[in-house]
Symmetry: C2
Subunit: 373 residues, 2 copies
Amino acid sequence: MTASSALPYQRLHVELDARRYPIHVGPGLLDAPDMLVPYLAGRQVMIVTNETVAPLYLERLKRTLSGDDRDVRDVREVILPDGEHTKTLASVERIWDALLAAGFNRRCTLVALGGGVIGDMAGFAAACYQRGVAFVQVPTTLLSQVDSSVGGKTGVNHPRGKNMIGAFWQPRAVLIDTGTLATLPARELSAGLAEVIKYGLIQDADFLAWLEARMPALRGLDVEALTEAILRSCAIKAEIVARDETEQGQRALLNLGHTFGHAIEAHQGYGNWLHGEAVGAGMLMAAALSQRLGWLAADDMARVETLVADTGLPVTAPAAMSADDFLATMRLDKKNIDDRLRLVLLSSLGEACVYDDTPSDMLESLLADFPRA
Amino acid sequence: MTASSALPYQRLHVELDARRYPIHVGPGLLDAPDMLVPYLAGRQVMIVTNETVAPLYLERLKRTLSGDDRDVRDVREVILPDGEHTKTLASVERIWDALLAAGFNRRCTLVALGGGVIGDMAGFAAACYQRGVAFVQVPTTLLSQVDSSVGGKTGVNHPRGKNMIGAFWQPRAVLIDTGTLATLPARELSAGLAEVIKYGLIQDADFLAWLEARMPALRGLDVEALTEAILRSCAIKAEIVARDETEQGQRALLNLGHTFGHAIEAHQGYGNWLHGEAVGAGMLMAAALSQRLGWLAADDMARVETLVADTGLPVTAPAAMSADDFLATMRLDKKNIDDRLRLVLLSSLGEACVYDDTPSDMLESLLADFPRA
């Protein structure tokens, strides 16, 4: 494949058994048909986006996808409300209704234009429409670029828990236009950086050191630094996912900070804390528990605290949340096997493990002692 | 695996890449823990059944699944209303709500006890609960025994079309207790036999001749004949599915009669014609079109008509249905690629093909001429 435009971009391939797909990263890729059109299954294309992103990028994407006189495509859109609270089965039903109203068959393609919520819902809609149709992702937030781009996790929330209904469904391609980060609020940039830090913590001490040095540049939207951070993050995640596509083992390491973080999100109401903010605080809690288990030195713990703070993320848990509040949600976590709580902890900086033998009193005192806002 | 009970049974294995699962067929298997328990993922078991089947078989199955003092399992049930009209996303949501209310994690197992509607919904619920949990099928109608047992198709209807929302999800095991056919209404037995005939028509002329000879025995619930018909049907379907798990090519042959049949079901309202009845009439329409194309001799056509009639299935289309009524639904069929109608037709008795070049006027006149009730 060659780019018809002269856009600079980098590419990474995610390797999965029978399926292999590219992640293209670069500025201005929204305007590059050659990065998108080869991955469409047929002429029917449904863009799924939200009310925040549509005014910014929908028309550009439609123009890129629509084709020329010789190869016209039927490109339509579903525009959903914005926010984590919209990540429901009812929203996915709106996508299915739109597909059926348009008479789209199973050679259609769903294109997700937006953040993680849009990607998760559009991917789930694609996974289940006529038992599975083609899916392409155009993530426009840093979080979705480094998280949802790899792994094929799709789904929606249920009143009783986050991501309880969903499917594993891989995209045919991911297109990351780094230009979209210019319109991202600073708070969401920090939330995305939480996941970037996570990759360093669980698997790559060098990347962690690079992040400590480059955090001001990243928060200042330095394009070169962001591109490198995105590519290294996706590469680490791709390597872990390729080893464990359906999350039986290793892939659980990607949940560092998420068990604590989901409890915060569930307690505070989804969307009040950004996912990345909850993961930021959650990673600190996981690190603090690792320290109590004797796995992390005080110096290492201090480095994690400093990096999370430098990223602009919360370093405390919500004031109103008790240890029992945490435990109530954590017991429902998908990683648990039968009744045992399984947590992702740090065996050292740059190395994580799944641990199901934390003494209950140690966990409870950590939950009680951890600083509150 | 050995049967602790002395029940006679036969077994077939469905071979799929990384997954291989057994179909056990025999009388009284509902009471055989060794045929079921090894396929449970953990201790949490949710039986999904309906109001018709529950009074007949639920307690027996619960007893078989619950285990003894040393290995107690948490076995619960969801009892849904009966009928094709309940095959909706709302019913599947009831299953998800029950799983979440019970606090079931992703090592739980869903067990479908009932006909095809229950199997399709329980399978879809399993496919999407926490992005996929274990699934075991205990089909209690002939149709579901020879159809849903193999292939992994799950899903629900949408007001705009049948099976429009769903997933491919394979069971860990299928247990067919032939004893359950004793409680099946004769009309449903005939509907199940429609699918059995289909396997002969598309792939096995010998089996077709066997069916012509054994149809009275089958309708008379001769256990030996039924067991052989079930095993041969599942074996033919398994062979086709193993070649084409996600329905890209060959597997479409299994849809003989279904494109016409779905149109009848959609027009008449799902559930008024049984699925197998609609497929029975649909197979006759496909055969008649094959005859017009010059592929089927008059004698062959007469054999198909006689066999469908001998099975107790309708040999006419609904009185109120026009050719346009057929075409309106057929144009939405999932087999279509872009705008071309693709039909499964008979190239000879015992051999089918997918054909997308039927002249429009030939199809329209067939639809107009075919006998109405």
